[in-house]
């Protein structure tokens, strides 16, 4: 390989590392993405133009067309699709990558004289095909599920066993081919089909909420497929890039499971036991969305206006000092923070005042209900801490509710609502709260003191 190309690949590899590194922090993520993209760009261009092969023009033209077509389509899809459809898009693209790897494998299998080729090369080719196929069909399946076009969830009890037997079969076949140096396109297509089927079988039983984890896992697999192809061509940028994606992807997958309070095993194999959905979800009101301290922290960090709604739970948790710390921290970061004080928040008149005065919150940060209600429109994030009845829209909407007619804080008008409480339990009035099921609301479960402390640490690390 030419030295120039080697150096280009080296540089591309380094951009991948830096890109990934920068993607890990909100402030640098954008530039990280661009750096990696640039590296990818030079790697592609270098590959096309720097070599000492005699390549007929037609091939260049074909490559050019392929790249042009792919670029345009990819670009259009990416910029047109709604934000909420992003995860399925990622899945789709990932499937394409897998397919590409599988196709390469197939071509190379055709090109090679299998019986004469070293076992390790054959193994590499077959691995690329199987893994590529799995990621392709698996990703498409995930895409379909997220998309809503695939709905079926298989409910055979011994499903996992069947599933695992199947993939073992595929691997055995591959080993057989490698060991025997068998050059049979029939078997090859059997392998390919096996990979494709397994991808579907693998993803099928997993619930929709777990899809992101699965996509991440499949993504990691695509990385491995790319790395294997890299070994095939002794191509370092593919090898290292693929491994980076593979290892980072696995770690990311685990992190996503942790963030969802699940284990990877329970996502993949527990698909049957965990169909009930998170506890405390009210059937008639729909489902709740829960969030984490780090997500909330980032949301607040990048917000312009934040309103904190304290309630009785703040007093129970004795979290007044921490909330003041949070407010100070946000203010220092240039966020406008205010407290919305509902007249009957807490359990005695002025409860919130006493509480917040104790932690020396400035009096002019506390805003009365009538004054703050018009401001919610203009608010990026409302953080409700241990309040419930005072933000319950039933007071407006439900004449049969015991709190009907009570004025409430109109937090629903703001862009995002984060509600911290320990559970889905009711407040003083003993009634459910529709707000928690609002599409804009994310629940941040936990004792207020603990949760706020976490928020503060997360914010400090930004």
């Amino acid at each position: 390989m030419s030295v120039t190309l080697s150096i280009i690949y080296l540089i591309a590899t380094v951009t991948f590392v830096f890109g990934l590194k920068r993607l890990g922090h909100p402030d640098t993520a954008k530039s990280g993405n661009l750096i990696a993209a640039a590296g990818m760009g030079i790697a592609i261009i270098g590959t096309i133009f720097i070599h000492d092969l005699e390549v007929p023009t037609i091939i260049y033209v074909l490559i050019g067309i392929a790249i042009l077509v792919g670029t345009i389509i990819g670009w259009l899809i990416a910029i047109k699709v709604e934000m909420t459809k992003m995860p399925e898009l990622v899945s789709l693209f990932n499937g394409f990558g897998g397919a590409s790897a599988a196709l390469i494998g197939i071509v190379e299998f055709g090109n090679a004289d299998i019986s004469a080729t070293s076992a390790s090369v054959v193994a590499t080719i077959l691995a690329a095909i199987i893994i590529g196929a799995i990621t392709f069909s698996g990703s498409l399946m995930a895409f379909g599920k997220l998309n809503g076009s695939v709905k079926s969830v298989i409910k055979i009890p011994q499903y996992n066993i069947v599933n695992n037997l199947f993939i073992v079969g595929v691997v055995v076949l591959a080993v057989y081919m490698v060991a025997g140096g068998i050059d049979s396109s029939l078997l090859l297509y059997a392998l390919l089909a096996g990979g494709l089927v397994y991808g579907i079988l693998f993803v099928m039983p997993i619930g929709g909420a777990d899809m992101p984890v699965v996509i991440s896992l499949l993504n990691s697999l695509t990385g491995i497929a790319a790395a294997i192809t890299g070994v095939l061509y002794d191509n370092m940028v593919m090898l290292v890039g693929g491994i980076l994606v593979g290892s980072a992807g696995i770690i990311l997958t685990v992190a996503m499971c942790v963030a969802m309070n699940r284990t990877l095993a329970s996502v993949i194999f527990g698909s049957f036991t965990a169909t009930a959905g998170p506890e405390g979800v009210n059937k008639t009101m729909g489902s709740i969305k829960s969030t984490t301290a780090s997500d909330t922290a980032i949301m607040m960090n990048y917000a312009t206006n934040v309103i904190i709604v304290p309630g009785y739970g703040l007093a129970v948790a004795q979290a007044q000092h921490v909330i003041h710390e949070l407010e100070e921290l946000l203010t220092k970061k240039g966020v406008n923070v205010k407290y919305a004080i509902h007249p009957v928040a807490g359990r005695m008149p002025g409860h919130m005042n006493v509480l917040l005065a104790e932690s020396n919150v400035e009096y002019d940060m506390l805003v009365e209900m009538e004054d703050i209600n018009p401001q919610f429109n203009n608010t990026d994030v409302v953080l409700v801490v241990g309040a419930n009845d005072v933000v319950n829209p039933a007071a407006h909407n439900d004449p049969s509710s015991p709190i009907y007619g009570m004025p409430i804080l109109d937090v629903e008008n703001s862009k995002h609502i984060v509600v911290n409480k320990r559970s889905m339990n009711v407040g003083y009035a003993g009634i459910d709260n529709e707000l928690f099921y609002n599409a804009k609301t994310a629940m941040l479960f936990g004792d207020a003191k603990k949760v706020l402390t976490d928020l503060v640490s997360e914010l400090k690390n930004m």
Binding site: L20, I44, S100, N111, L244, A255
Partner: protein, 102 residues
Amino acid sequence: MENLIEFISSNLQIVYIIILATFVGVELIKSIPAVLHTPLMSGANALSGVVIVGAILVMLHSDPTDYLALSLGFVAVVLGILNVVGGFAVTNRMLEMFKKKK
């Protein structure tokens, strides 16, 4: 097992590279905020499109008359570049929310 050992001894440096790259990947991603999980997944996905390099190589090496290889290669390049371009573009859009204020 034997094969593995053979592979290791004949590709020792590759093995080191794989191990070290794995460490790098793990260390880089070890502790990132949950809100970045999706963009990061998306970015990593774009990177996995590096397989396009292989697809291009397939085409470059193809005999212009080997239509099967050529067309498979063509499809592979299209899919690969879709993965790359779409992946980076989507990631970029996702990251819009982290625009610096002030």
